[in-house]
Amino acid sequence: MDSIALLLAATLNAGTVLAFAALGLLINERSGIVNLGAEGMMLVAAIAGFAVGVHHGDVMGFAAGALAGAVMAAAFGVLVIYLNTNQYASGLALSLFGSGFSAFVGIAFTQEKLPERMHFSIPGLADIPLIGPALFRHHPMVYIAVVLTVALAWFLYRSRAGLVLRAVGESPESAHALGYPVRRIRMLAVVVGGALCGLSGAYISLVYTPLWVEGMVAGKGWIALALTTFATWRPARVLLGAYLFGGVTMLQFHLQGEGVQIPSQFLTMLPYVATIVVLVLISRNKSFIRINMPASIGKPFFPGS
């Protein structure tokens, strides 16, 4: 029983990493922008969060991570939105820059350790057998991810601003004709999305792994990108998908613990292979994807050209 509780707890933990990033990317993509720079933003946010978190605690660490993600996203946004560059190439540039920059800055922090970790638990609930250790002894960010998902779903489907955001993503021309500042809205979406990717990166270095290792994001940014497609651009499904993938990631350690006779490398492959399998399953039906995908995704919008 204990091992099930542990696996569940670890799944929530790993899922939270993916949830923040994928929710951020969801906001981007709902406005019509694909940011392939998620991996790079998360890496820079991870080192920024860690560097600040070492001396100033978790809250400042997360703030630094979000800021780092937002700043990088803003640079990307200026390029693709105001200079009309190719979104894929620009996102790649961001990822390449991020992995180099984080490794460069991070050298000074490879030996650092975070101060003694606080143990969180929700009074009362945390003592329930099985469920308590599985669900109610997590870092506050785990619960914030859930709240954020609900808030984002409300925003997208129940608020006027969310409607405008979706309109921009579906048809920037129409939104522009109606007088909405398409480029400013997209920029805002990109920066907010970057900040959320930043929170995800900071979560990795402050809570999930708690230390700094070069390249520690290890493809989670790309998996988060795949998640938005998997979730057909819906917040609740993004969260579920994140936990599902979190579970797959954690399964490898669980299986290793159980003494399964598979070389560890094949277990490490699991989340990546699972991503491919899931992409294949979800993309198979072309029209299903087309119906759900924001129509202007990946396409530049340049008024007056």
């Binding site: 820059f97 920059f101 490794a103 460069f104 007088g179 290890a218 790309w222 795949a226 490398q265 993309s283």
Partner: protein, 369 residues
Amino acid sequence: MLKLESRPEQSRLMSIGSPLLALLITVVVGVILFALLGKDPVRGLYVFFVEPLKSVYALTELAVKATPLLLIALGLALCFRSNVWNIGAEGQYVLGAIFASGVAMNADKSTGGWIVILVLAAAVVGGMLWAAIVALLRDRFNANEILVSLMLVYVADQLLSYLVYGPWKDPAGYNFPQTITFLKSTQMPRLFTGFRVNGGVIIALLAVAAFWVLLFRTYAGFQLQVGGLAPAAARYAGFSSRRALWTALLLSGAMAGLAGGLEIAGPLGQLTPYVPAGYGFAAIIVAYVGRLHPVGIVFSSILMSMFYIGGELAQSRLGLPKALTGVFQGLLLFALLACDTLIYYRIRWKAARAPAAKTPVISTEKKVA
């Protein structure tokens, strides 16, 4: 207020000027970065841009590092021109190295030098197979090639790790995760004694010519590029987008695999966990900086090779982390993309107009569940 105004025609001048401008921006940022780190910027620039060119030995080392970049970038240029986003060349490169090693480790003392051809052929097959997975999943299941090719990089890295820690580990290697050092017969002949540069450079230059012909002098190359520039036009003309997808991915996979094989049959000489050196990702930058043109890529691969060597020198001479290379690589691509705007637009000074009064047009909110 500065405004972008679209040019009636693409600027040819800027399409060549933009990479130079981007390089200048990267250098300026580099100078600032050196100054911030308390290092002499002149010495920093010297290490990156002069030392890699200073001696015959340095020049040959430059060629050693430029070769894989050049080979991979040629394939990627073809891909990007066809609007196929293969960004997993790193994985195809690793598979090339693995397949090449699989052949090379079977050589014994009596094996002749012909085995090099087999080693390289295996590498090409390995790279193509890995890229074929991407093509198959895209073609058959519509799976996004960016994500699939990238995920396969991580899978390839784990496969490599499994082999060198497991079945392929050198039994007499003091438990180091590496294969045996491959016999001399499996290695590409060197061009000059005393230098590491080998026949791979000649293969790479022949590939440049081959890609130039393919892109600009064959009907197949024309079809690929039309498909990339104007998918609708290509469809009306009856050009198969499926064939374009397969051609682009298989060719780029083959090139990345070949690059991996040449590393095994050259500078590395054995399979280790350090085979993935980021060449597959750096080659993306090389392809863009070289304007997706085979001849341009020759120059950009040399430039990127200077970044690699400069990074290593900066580590040994200036005590800076080697990761500096990655910073400059990323900066260069970022600056290039920004500068490329000038190919399509020109900057004009315009007096700011008074913004038109905003009148909300939608008054009733649609309820969408």
